[in-house]
Symmetry: C4
Subunit: 444 residues, 4 copies
């Protein structure tokens, strides 16, 4: 009896995979166009606003002398004649939005390093909004060393014409640009960064006829998921009377499928919101849809598991899971110990150990074969004690984790694999998986 | 009886390897000279036509301001006085071929980002062909922001004199150069690229006596392969009467050898075509010859397999094959799930996840020990949610694949190896391989 | 009986972990702020004092011509007008501290490479202290080719204002800057480096009210550690009479915990010293605290080991330890042989093999999956013999260590794991660990 | 009886290790000083002679326009005033050695790419020697496009003063500098390189008293090695009468030790030659000494093998050796097939596949965890067919070798390890090693 319904369920699953993936791909393609447009614009702004900017610097743009700084401040007036893009400064009520300059500084303070004395009023003065023309001259006049940071804010508007060629309506983009001269460390190094926050909205007045594409795909996805959901609840939960029975039932693949469906539905709803320019949180939508798609693909393994020889991977993973978790608990203790120790000792001397999450990533990467020599090398010319410590630290860490822990992990998996194989040979194991399948009626 | 003919067949195989490899090496060397000449020329063109080009930029050359762009357009007139190469502009019927400038633009369109309004005619105007002298001035006059792209095409001719020193006749090269100013994203960043398409032909008028080298090697290769082919069909296929018998016969090494021979013959024929300047598809030829050579080399293992202890590799691989395929099916599901999810979520924020095939490559590389920290690092300063997602994504992916799946793979192979070894100890296994060998008559 | 006290001890351990880690984190954060301030200042100095310095050079700044050198020497006078930082030259007794210029040179020496002759007095003249104004002119006048090195020393004072925003008192920093023009190789390449040695002290005269934060955490840590220490010695050592008994007792975790406590106490005491500006050896303190924290975290495994299935990691590591050590002895012999050989032969031709400790790091990294192709590549264009040697060297090394030794290591661990597992199945092993636990009274 | 003599032989071995390593270290240190001096000088020359040279270019310096080339040629006259080094042009018989300019060009040739015609006389004219002053003007006048290459040769002399500080006598260095403008590809890209060939000799006339250090260490090494050699031959070979007996005796460690001793003696003799400025082949000497030291260190394992548990590494390696070799034969066939195929197809499109030995290195590195994504990436923007081929090629290669072959290798070693272990448990195996030891008398 069970044999008879398998193909039908598999086909349903394949159908689900196809439409969910198709939806994902379409969303991905339009998302990509938007993302590259934003990125290219940010790059353009960096090249226009940061003098002598080079692409390969990756945000390490910094100024060191007064002359360089003044040079920069006087730079943002005739933007429209400079660039080839269709840019315009923002306008509110027919007037240009001001180029607001936020000048954070300690106001009534004096610092005299020569005599080791200072008087500081920790309250930070937030500066005034000024229009470009008169503002920048004023800025430079009042420029003082007790400056904390200068933020220059302005709005640029542009239209993403690219979409015309894909027969979609161009959107209007508002870039809220913030140029930050960050001197809060007072170390003589002023970091300069350009940040742009984008606002996408429909253009008010346009003249291109493009077919209002209704996204039938989303509707299909939504419909089939909700249907599946409904049937699932109707057939199973209503049959089972007590809560304890219900809780028992909810296991493994069952939870898996429900999560996947919930994510798909939520994602699709948000996607409709984005396409109607009602919502703009692309990130949430892509995370929901992405995770849903991943779960749907992984869900196929459930059906592959019907063929006895195919489920070795999933069986081994499941059987090894408790041991792996226990093993990882122990290993994590040692790992965290190393992380804390590395962060505190090597943090000040090595870029990869600067913050705690960087340390965890760096050590995790080292285990998996990252460039170790570079990590060794960058710790060189330090005090001898730290140098020695870093050597001992790295040698013991890599030896312990790569040679011992990883080898033990392989032993663990190999062992589980062999247990599973012997079990399979001896008898058809009545795993939970198969028991579950046989209980579930055809409609699920 | 079987023992007696082995050396003869092995020698034939070695002879085949030697001449096929020799042919490959000769082709490779002449191919390399041609390839470096093309590449060096492309580099020269980039340095001549792209102002301030640096080698290590690797094609990320872009312009951001109008001034830079105009500066570039006025640049291509007195090429011959500039370079040290033997270059000449192409001539047709005694007149210089025009410097065709393809100016793609939206013709009757206006865009006003300030008022969020635009009128666009999506038809793209393809621009006119113009001669260098008068053309470029005209170009700059009509240069507008609604430009989609400017392509400058022209033909340069040169002679590859290098071959004179290797006692070969120099060829004449026609480089069809295309300089592309790509503004189709309208993001203010105009990507500039130089592409050269090369046409190689014999020079018309020359005065160096070089011996017309007939490539005997190709003929030998061709002859021996065809001979082998002929004998194979005569002896085997004619003996076997029914189709079912024939299909049964065609297995493993047999198919292997026939594919190898077919590729060799096709490749050699194309090679003759190339040497007589009749064909120019170097790529097809090199792929055919390369694959053929690879197969011939791998084919040696068949003969090594006669010595019982040598065939452990090939036996294990063959025995493990079905399990490996099944295992890979399951792993591929999870892998594809991760790929889709990574592409959609991280695509806009990370270079390595931009396109789907890049994602598959990146994840595949991560499993095999690529630089993980760099992958982690480049995802930094994003929105907190994406940042968190990327961490979970990467940690789970690497843990799952490097620790679990890879360990299980090792377990799979180890297990197969042990099975094979026990089998070998117990009895001489009458594998298909040996059965096949005994059936094949001496001439094959 | 043993079951009853476990939770109490575990809670004590968790409490210890929490407070020690909290202390570490607090120290780490303040340490980090200090470290970035120092580093940013060093970077600022490099940009101010080394003309045309680029960040990505990483200390490879060098001069090659006389003109460049003179250009540099005349550069350090009007620093205060140049930078945005609150810098001041140091003053002693109301006078500026001199810009001491240490000019090391061979005094009465002549060198004539043209005639292969030289007269050298190996005594090095140490040069005089000079004030900036008159000094530098004098320096350039007397500049000669037999110069060994010029060190320019001066003191800059600044105040780390950043801490004001974290409601801490700003410290005064004295940077002892040393600009070194190193010509001791006499090879025409003069390496230039900036080193800054920092002295941190409380400012004399200030006017910001910040609460004098007493570090209660340190006191808690100290108290609990000393308490633990005291109890440990009272309960155990006094009970045991003979020394042999004592020595027997002192094993494994026992030593472990004592070391951890000792480190914590020493580190905490130094930390108090640092916070009261009495001591400045941040490095020692961070190494002590870091190691202590690491040990405390690893110590948790001891308690996890009570749950039978959790201690597989630690049991395997302990059981495999003697074999691993023996194995490593043998491997180390081969490893050291390769190191010496690589250093002597490839040292002059390859950056990674320049010093002996670099060789050990490079080979160790190669085993663990470092970028091998780059290592191969950088050895190219050398004499053919060295090139060939480097190939054989690298191929044999990687084959031997990655394929053989590492695989054997895995076999070793797998084997131990299986032994442990069989042991565990057969009977509850009365390990030393458990014996120890049962002997230790509740208070320990 | 055997137990009694072990310590003595081990001590002798340790003594040998110590003195041979000491000798190596001393040689290494003096070698290093010489090597850095040479390298720094080469760097200085590159910076002086190649305009705008940057360190990180690593020899990819090339010129593309006539203007740049002329600019370069007029550059080498007033060297002595430029640099800070003690440089002098070479002099022979009181006259400056000429700045020989080798101008290789096709003399009576005309090339007309416009008409696809050329007349070439393949004989290359070697150009004349000219003195700097008049020569360079002449050179530029006659500069033509049919130039193959221009080599500028001259000799610079300097003295390595650095050694004075180590109480050694400074040597005189003669740098034979060759600046090569390589246009042999006639592709418009002229590669420029600086090569320096160094000649080291004692200075003629000097005035520093340095103790004539006789290298006692070398003599000790030599003496002990020769002694060992002599005893070995006297005791063993003379006892054994027939050649068959002799050949039987010569196995394993015996050959090992003899090779090591021979290398040490040869290396030490060459080292004496170098120290007396009689020989200059540092490379040969360092290879000999390095290999000897490596062998001596590895030889220690022989003595560690006496302790039963220590010899697991060496026993496994020896037992696995025949299988490993057989296995590698098969794997090498597949590997070579891939190498040839990759070289011919991807060679023209990818830097890492340009030459055959690069391909072998690249693939070998890929197996051992090299950066795969970069390898994938650099093959991008090619014709679609090649792109597809490269993907299939890389995926199959890495899957086959990393997952299959490497896993099988681990299985092979694990298997051998277990066999050895079982053997050891069952009975003390009377290995060849022990048999040998018992036969050798005490003096060896």
């Amino acid at each position: 009896r069970a044999k008879g319904r398998k193909p039908w369920k598999l086909m349903l699953q394949i159908w689900k995979i196809v439409i969910i993936t198709a939806q994902l791909v379409l969303f991905g393609l339009s998302n990509e166009m938007m993302a590259t447009f934003k990125e290219d614009n940010l790059m353009t702004f960096e090249h226009l606003f940061l003098k002598g900017f080079k692409d390969h610097w990756q945000g390490n743009y910094a100024l060191y002398t007064k002359a360089d700084l003044y040079d920069h401040i006087y730079h943002y007036t005739n933007l429209q004649n400079l660039t080839l893009e269709n840019l315009a400064y923002g306008k509110i009520d027919g007037k240009y939005t001001p180029l607001s300059v936020c000048q954070l500084l300690y106001k009534n303070s004096t610092v005299d390093p020569e005599r080791d004395s200072f008087y500081i009023d920790p309250h930070i003065d937030e500066g005034t909004e000024i229009r470009p023309a008169e503002g920048l001259v004023f800025l430079c006049r009042t420029f003082r060393t007790l400056l904390v940071s200068v933020n220059i804010n302005f709005t640029l508007k542009t239209i993403n014409l690219q979409t015309v060629r894909h027969h979609e309506l161009p959107d209007c983009y508002g870039f809220h640009i913030k140029i930050i001269f960050d001197n809060c460390a007072h170390s003589g190094k002023i970091k300069v960064g350009v940040k742009n926050d984008v606002q996408i909205h429909e253009c008010k007045d346009y003249n291109v006829k493009a077919s209002g594409k209704i996204d039938y795909l989303v509707l299909i996805v939504l419909f089939s998921c909700i249907q599946e959901f409904k049937i699932f609840f109707q057939t199973h939960f209503n049959k089972l009377v007590t809560w304890s029975e219900r809780m028992e039932f909810v296991n493994g693949w069952c939870i898996f499928i429900n999560i996947s469906d919930t994510l798909t539905i939520t994602g699709s709803v948000i996607k409709i919101g984005i396409q109607t320019k009602f919502l703009t949180n692309y990130d949430v939508c892509s995370i929901l849809l992405g995770t849903a798609t991943m779960l749907v693909w992984i869900g196929v393994i459930r059906y592959l598991g019907y063929f006895k020889k195919y489920n070795i991977l999933i069986l081994t993973l499941r059987a090894a899971f408790p041991n792996v978790i226990r093993f990882c608990c122990c290993a994590a203790m040692i790992y965290l110990g190393y992380c804390f120790c590395g962060w505190i000792v090597l943090g000040p001397y090595h870029d990869k150990f600067r913050t705690f999450d960087k340390v965890t990533e760096c050590l995790f990467s080292l285990i998996n074969g990252d460039d170790m020599f570079a990590t060794f090398l960058n710790m060189r010319d330090k005090s001898y004690m730290v140098w020695l410590f870093s050597r001992i630290y790295l040698y013991t860490f890599t030896s312990l984790f790569i040679y011992m822990v990883l080898s033990l992990f392989i032993a663990l998996i190999t062992d589980t694999y062999e247990t599973i194989k012997h079990h399979q040979k001896d008898s058809e194991p009545a795993t939970l998986l198969h028991a579950f399948i046989e209980e579930v009626p055809e409609s699920a």
